[in-house]
């Protein structure tokens, strides 16, 4: 747990994102029809989802840890990771809608990927509602931990698996190639991977700050 108080990885995250902001606009990208310059959105839209997955995964790990040990701190980590993840979820959805407007024609074209992403979003909204509806602390922690462990795989299936089994406009689904060999050349990878790492660490950073605030609040309430 000492890791979250260290500074080096926060600086690293900021530097990586600075690099992607500059290189993402200046480096050459493949010239593709329909996409045109919007292909640069890969550096900013996809990392939002990567960041979301990172904090949600950490949240599940700490939910399991909570059920194993019953340590209140683990529950607080799980909650704040979900909160941060939901924030990046919204960013991912909105940036995706913006991008879709100018490539697919509509903000929301009822694409399988969009629809299942919306459903999975409701799953995590339900998590927040469930938590806030239980007053007793231990019960709340236990029930929401169990819910979280179930919600995560369903979210992964909804976002990553189901859209791939039907036709979707989103790259990577139903015979529509992802940003694989065809679209993404190695120049793009040089920006895309640092962007993912940078945003993942930024999400982690925000989550740790929220956790530390919540820990102080928790300790304050404990004494009173």
């Amino acid at each position: 747990m000492k890791f979250i108080y260290q500074t080096w990885w926060k600086v690293l995250a900021v530097l990586l994102i600075f690099y992607t902001l500059i290189a993402g606009f200046l480096l050459d990208v493949p010239h593709l029809p329909i996409l045109h310059e919007t292909i640069r959105n890969v550096y900013f839209h996809v990392p939002m989802w990567m960041a979301m997955f990172t904090v949600f995964t950490i949240s599940v790990i700490y939910s399991i840890k909570y059920l194993n040990t019953g340590k209140e701190e683990y529950d607080l980590i799980a909650v704040e990771c979900v909160n941060t993840g939901t924030f990046f979820y919204v960013l991912g959805l909105i940036t995706g809608m913006m991008w879709a407007k100018y490539t697919w024609g509509e903000f929301w074209s009822n694409d399988p990927k969009q629809n299942s992403a919306a459903i999975a979003f409701l799953l995590y909204c339900a998590y927040a509602v469930l938590r806030n509806s239980i007053d007793e602390e231990q019960k709340r922690a236990k029930i929401s931990a169990i819910y979280n462990i179930f919600a995560f795989p369903i979210m992964v299936v909804l976002i990553m698996v189901l859209p791939r089994m039907t036709d979707s406009l989103h790259p990577g689904n139903g015979g529509n190639p992802a940003f694989g060999k065809l679209d993404m050349d190695n120049h793009m990878r040089m920006v895309f991977y640092p962007a993912c790492i940078g945003w993942c660490f930024t999400a982690l950073w925000i989550a740790t700050v929220r956790y530390r605030i919540r820990l102080i609040e928790y300790k304050k309430n404990e004494i009173n």
Partner: protein, 69 residues
């Protein structure tokens, strides 16, 4: 025929004069080259720099509070 040729000659002179004028107006320094994209980059970098500084300051304040405990 002669008149038309003369007119065409004058016209071409006019076009080249305009082209030269354009060349004179353009004073491209770095920030104005390639569609002024550098301005956009500068703006985003400033925005993100602000956010990063903000996050770092929150982190520092939090550290102070944690030490008081």
């Amino acid at each position: 025929m002669r008149k038309i040729l003369f007119l065409a000659l004058l016209l071409s002179a006019y076009v080249s004069a305009f082209a030269q004028q354009n060349k004179q107006v353009e004073m491209a320094d770095v920030m104005r080259s390639s569609g002024k994209i550098y301005v956009v980059i500068a703006v985003i970098v400033i925005v993100f720099a602000g956010l990063a500084i903000y996050l770092f300051s929150i982190d520092r304040r939090l550290k102070k509070i944690e030490k008081e405990k």
